[in-house]
């Protein structure tokens, strides 16, 4: 079975919420919709205070090419356009919508029936336009606008579309469950993307801990042209773009380059489902499936959440915050961020909520680095974390640059594997920030 070639670890996968059917979370009384739920310029509000909006209506328009529309997740009245606090208590400009009646009055143009729509009507260009209009971004966590990835720069040639159905983060199961429940839709979505990219070959990478999904997808793939299922050996961070490309097609994206450099475009499986909904059902991206999980969570599972719903409401539906909670993490344990504000609204980036008990949250005291090389062995980019840390401590920025610190994908494998519990990634991140700044500044001189 295939996998990537350098480094990597085998964390316990803790898929506690696997095979729990997707449950819809009750609509909030008030939805807080951030204008920036994607990488790139924040969207421009096009509604005003007092406007009545329906579910799916554009409330903020894309501001430039690397930007996407934002839509009303509930129906109601716009009460203000103001800042709300994000998960770390920092302000983010948002549109506040108070629900009217049940808050679920949709635009008439949206097809809300569960029927499959297999009819391909649009051309590639039209599909890409539709995707941008629908506000679709990479739902794997990067939130990079999808239409940008589908528009390769002139001179580059796309050979293959790789679907990221790896879900290598421990605990998270939302993609897995989505695949089990919406397999056919996802295949139609893949076909749409292949049309948009004008290619005839797609590979779906699925890790081997999701045997049921692999089996199901292999069955469906028989009926679809050009889509191949690639089961992958369980290994973190296989869902990293570069690692996934290496695992599936055996090509390594060079340092600093994008996947297109080796002819690949990677899309997350949840994104593909969003593409299906946008193109075939005319439904913009207003909700997503997220995993709410943790050893102490009573109703852990996979929840379909409208954006703008306070995460506290989502957690409440999953049984509430347990007494012994130490940390609440947006995302998974390897790359997720610890939150300070659970009233933060769900948005496109929120792939999961992981509640850790106090006991699980403690980080052990670091001791001397014993130079065991475990961090070097674990690093999927072939870096030397222990060395980068030493250089960060001594502020040897040039040396760090030479040792390819900018290649670090912040996967956390190094810190995860360190017996001395050194704060490796913490220092590497600091170093990256400074070295990145130096590189950008240098570029402005030329």
């Amino acid at each position: 079975m295939k996998t990537f070639r350098i480094g990597g670890i085998h964390p316990t996968d803790h898929k506690l919420s696997a095979n729990i059917p997707i449950e819809t979370v009750a609509l909030p009384k008030q939805a807080i919709v951030p204008l920036s739920q994607h990488i790139g310029a924040p969207a421009q509000p096009i509604v005003e205070k007092g406007d009545h909006v329906k579910v799916g209506q554009v409330i903020a328009a894309a501001n430039g090419f690397v930007s996407v529309n934002v839509h009303a997740p509930i129906s109601g009245v716009v009460t203000k356009i103001d800042t709300a606090l994000d998960a770390w208590g920092l302000p983010m400009p948002s549109i506040f919508i108070d629900a009217e009646e049940d808050g679920d009055e949709w635009l008439e143009t949206i097809d809300r029936t569960p029927d499959l729509n297999r009819i391909y009507k649009l051309t590639g260009k039209e599909i890409i336009k539709k995707i941008q209009d629908a506000g679709i971004v990479g739902l794997g966590g990067a939130c990079f606008p999808t239409h940008v990835k589908l528009s390769p720069p002139p001179g580059s040639k796309v050979e293959v579309l790789i679907i990221n159905a790896v879900e290598c983060e421990p605990y998270l199961t939302c993609d897995h469950q989505l695949m089990l429940e919406r397999g056919e839709e996802i295949f139609i979505g893949i076909s749409l993307l292949m049309r948009a990219l004008e290619i005839e070959h797609a590979i779906v990478g699925i890790e081997n801990n999701k045997k049921d999904a692999i089996e199901l997808f292999q069955k469906i793939a028989n009926r679809h042209f050009g889509i191949e299922i690639c089961p992958l050996k369980l290994r973190y961070p296989q869902g990293g773009e570069k690692q996934l490309i290496d695992a599936t097609i055996g090509r390594q994206v060079p340092s600093g380059a994008l996947p297109i450099a080796v002819g690949a475009v990677v899309q997350n499986v949840a994104t593909v489902y969003a593409v299906y909904e946008a193109v075939q059902k005319n439904k913009p991206l207003i909700d997503r499936v997220m995993t709410v999980t943790g050893e102490s969570v009573t109703r852990r599972g996979n929840y379909l959440v409208r954006f703008g719903t306070p995460l506290a409401d989502v957690i409440a539906q999953a049984g509430g915050i347990p007494e012994n909670t130490g940390k609440i993490i947006a995302g998974g344990p390897m790359m997720g961020r610890a939150m300070s504000n659970v009233n933060m609204p769900a948005h496109k980036r929120t792939s999961g909520i992981l509640i850790m008990t106090e006991a699980e949250s403690v980080r052990r005291e670091p001791v001397n680095c014993m130079r065991c090389g475990k961090c070097v062995e674990a690093c999927p980019m072939g870096l030397e974390p222990f060395l980068l840390v030493r250089q960060a401590e001594m502020r040897l920025w040039d040396d760090m640059e030479q040792n390819a610190i900018m290649d670090c994908i912040e996967c956390g494998c190094c810190l995860y594997s360190c017996p001395s519990n050194r704060p490796l990634l913490d220092y590497v991140r600091m170093g990256k920030a400074t070295v990145g700044g130096i590189i950008r500044t240098r570029a402005t001189q030329k």
Partner: protein, 329 residues
Amino acid sequence: MKNLIISPAPHAHNNDTVQKTMLNVLIALVPAYLVSLYFFGLGALIVSLTAVISCVLFEYLIQRFLLKGKNSIVDLSSVVTGLLLAFNLPSNLPLWMIIIGALVAIGIGKMSFGGLGNNPFNPALVGRVFLLISFPVEMTAWPRPMNNWNIFSSYIDAETAATPLAMLKGHFGELPNTMDLLLGNMGGSLGEVSAIALIIGGLYLIIRKVISWHIPVSILGTVAIFTAILHAANPELYASADIHLLTGGLMLGAIFMATDYATSPMNGKAQLFYGIGIGFITVIIRTFGAYPEGVSFAILIMNGVTPLLNHYIKPKRFGEKVKAQKVTK
């Protein structure tokens, strides 16, 4: 609601610790230790206990009164150093010499550089080589393995025997047979005699991922190839590869001493060079040098080269020189 803990990712750890690592090394040393208790009886017990206790005690005292740092003996690394030091000593060495060896190993070899991970040379070997140079007679008079068990005489008035390696310089005929070499029924330092027991320990370490195969395999491979060539050139003068592999401190050195974390290179590629260097120097000293045994010196020399290897031989970076492959359909 009470405050949530905020810390950067990752929020998970594989729960490996220095202590667990050292414990695994100790477990891996058990087979060889049992063999040495069997062959050398009470002597082995006395020497090893003295070495371990004094190493732990010196680390504790130095940390407490000189460095004034956090108590570090709980990480078990000084137990490992003590046991490895004992493994490199004859089983009838006077206690005071062992204590001096322990002081040198821990005090100079390890703590003077700042403790675990900062020492450039393998502490147990520093202690051993210090003793070898200071007390060459005592350090090279090895008790003969007991064939009839008499625990009490084994430490006090053990018969001594030359090691097979010493015999290599001229007395081929007296060499023990291969089976005895494998099991360890020969003269030698406390823990080095049984190749089989050491290999079992080494396999355990590799399976538990405490060490990788690179260092032991490259050392043993180099010694095997190099001595086989010499032997082929002149069988009268040079012993065969199996004799070299199974005698002296080679197994112990290749599996347990050369793989010491702090003093060996950090990535597989560099480790291969390091191992080849050790193997090469070992054979040179053994066949052409004045000492019968060269493993300790070879490892210490390559310890000194480790920083260079780390600097010049980097792990394979992602995206660096890989063959582009065709997307097959």
